[in-house]
Amino acid sequence: MDQPNIISVQGLCNSFGEQIIHQDLNLEVRRGEILGVVGGSGTGKSVLMRSIIGLQEPVAGKIRVFDEGMIGKEEDEASDVRRRWGVLFQGGALFSTLTVAENVQVPLREFYPDFSKALLDEIAHYKIYLSGLPADAAHKFPSELSGGMRKRAGLARALAIDPELLFLDEPTAGLDPISAANFDNLTRDLKETLGLTVFLITHDLDTLYAICDRVAVIADKKVIAVGAIEELLAIDHPWINEYFSGPRGRAARRGHDKHNNPQPHLHQPGRS
């Protein structure tokens, strides 16, 4: 298509008062990939996402999304970019006075005011189905949903306008392992079906192994490494080593290997 990198961040600096969050951070997100972003708590993963989607004004740096500069854009500007992305916030950020179906219709009404009421209802219906919610959730209010259902409803809203780029902020945090695995599969299916590019912030090692094409590691106020997990494992950095080779990291890797190669033991002689 028109450009290989959907998001490009160059020399990003962010700070809150005295505290410097990012210093000279560079990152590129390629079309059609799922990029996982990891880093310790407080390393500024969410701040990076907020900078990219224009909610946080950086101190310095360049951010281009779909080849359009995003810094300093007001809410009513850059609508060509805004109609091509969807954002899922950590808590779902559903509009609490609207039902789930109405929540999904908000971006549709905003960007495509000509759509008929019947079409809006139909779109909301199948989006809710695609996000894995039961059909009767459509008329419920966010306060009547569980945390996991709220995330799915948030995803349905993020997907409402068939975006090319999806931002997910810790989508599996707080979900039970079964729901989290379902959410991972859903993300991968949507990516393959719709050709999405996904910017995924996560702490969940299983998610990283299961669906991410590349992983960006944030530490020391910048992205210290980007690449497939195998490439990251080869890098000698204390935080990366600890992250991927700690007990949880090893467990996630074992689970991933087992999943891809269901009977590894039979090929090893002398183990039975």
Binding site: R83, S96, T97, E122, Y129, A135, S143, I161, T193, L194
Partner: protein, 370 residues
């Protein structure tokens, strides 16, 4: 740039029609296709997708819906298109149950019944709430160590000290208005000097306290409701309960005590400011010097007027704080509720204050405190 979505109808050899779709069937380029597909009356047997350049879920949904309603067969779908069609087709199996929509007469009856039930349960809950607060007061009186002095002092500051500016200014202006209106009316009888009676008796007995109560309800009653309501939504109050902290003790009692103690002080202050305002107007317009004004004020204003104000003020303070905290505790669910309950707290507090004020007025007249 991609072409807009378009379709052509062609007759098939064996009867019926084939729809030949072309262009981009995506959300941005779908245009009026939805309405036109809905209005199709022809007998569609086949839908040909081979000329479609690009498709997303909205396009897939339109194709799927048309195929389903007309019973047509989809041909020429590429790999991506078939996958999308497959994805959206699952949504059919789960029909959204329509939202219940009873006739308007039934709805009206239901709403009336609902509000009656709500009113009674709210009344019961309010009584329960007052009981909880009284109980918490007793428990705190027995165990003074558990009393949160720090919180009370903080609320003194919020309810009292920070209100001084606005209440002082408001009372000063009201004093001027009373004096000015009184002077204009009484001049007709040549009885301008009675303006001082009007100012002295009205401010201490009624207006000083009443206006302070209204201002405190607007400033602090609303703040109490909003603070407690937000804490309710963020589960802070649930967290307190699990730790063993009683919300009535930790949140309500300090606020009630602060309001009960600050109201009389603010009331006296407001009355004094109103008298200063009135005296200033008397001095400038009626040419009554301040010394004469004060002397006359002491002659015509009985001490009972002051005591009436001082008896009413703590009661009003308690009502305002209780209404604010009670409405805050009633918040359930979402952020909109905080706003609704805050409004309810202020309206309820001012209404109750005025009702009680009428009661006090009759009561004190009856016992001879004229």
């Amino acid at each position: 740039m991609a072409n807009a979505a378009e379709f052509l109808q062609e007759d098939l050899a064996d009867g019926g029609q084939i729809l030949r779709l072309s262009g981009s069937f995506t959300i941005a380029l779908i245009g009026d296709i939805d309405g036109r597909l809905r209005d199709l009356s022809a007998d569609v047997r086949k839908i040909d997708l081979s000329a479609v350049e690009h498709m997303d879920t909205v396009g897939a949904w339109l194709v799927h819906r048309t195929a389903k309603t007309s019973g047509a067969e989809i041909v020429g779908a590429g790999k991506d298109a078939s996958r999308l069609l497959q994805a959206v087709s699952g949504a059919d199996q789960t029909d959204i149950p329509p939202r219940p929509h009873p006739p308007s007469f039934e709805r009206f009856l239901a709403e009336v019944g609902h509000s009656v039930i709500i009113s009674f349960t709210t009344l019961l809950q309010f009584l329960g709430f007052v009981g909880q607060v009284v109980k918490a007061c007793f428990i705190l009186a027995m165990n003074p160590g558990r009393f949160r002095w720090h919180a009370v002092v903080q609320h003194f500051d919020m309810v009292g000290v920070r209100a001084l500016g606005i209440i002082g200014l408001m009372s000063f202006l009201i004093g001027i208005v009373i004096a000015q209106q009184g002077a204009v009316q009484l001049r007709q009888f040549g009885a301008e000097v009675f303006t001082i009676n009007l100012i002295g008796r009205l401010t201490f007995r009624e207006l000083g306290i009443l206006m302070t109560a209204i201002m405190v309800a607007g400033r602090s009653g609303s703040a109490f409701a909003a603070q407690i309501g937000t804490m309710k939504i963020t589960e802070e109050i649930d967290a307190m309960r699990t730790i063993g902290v009683v919300p009535a003790e930790a949140l309500v009692v300090p606020r009630v005590i602060a309001a009960v103690m600050m109201m009389p002080l603010l009331g006296v202050y407001a009355s004094l400011m109103a008298i200063i305002g009135g005296g200033l107007l008397c001095w400038i317009v009626l040419e009554i010097p301040p010394a004469t004004f004060v002397q006359r004020l002491r002659e015509v204003t009985p001490m009972t007027d002051f005591w009436i104000g001082m008896i009413k003020a703590p009661v009003f303070g308690a009502i305002i704080a209780m209404a604010g905290c009670f409405q805050g505790m009633q918040v359930r669910g979402n952020a909109e509720q905080v706003g609704l309950k805050t409004t309810a707290a202020v309206v309820q507090a001012i209404f109750l204050v005025i009702v009680l004020d009428a009661f006090f007025a009759i009561f004190f007249s009856e016992i001879g405190w004229n």
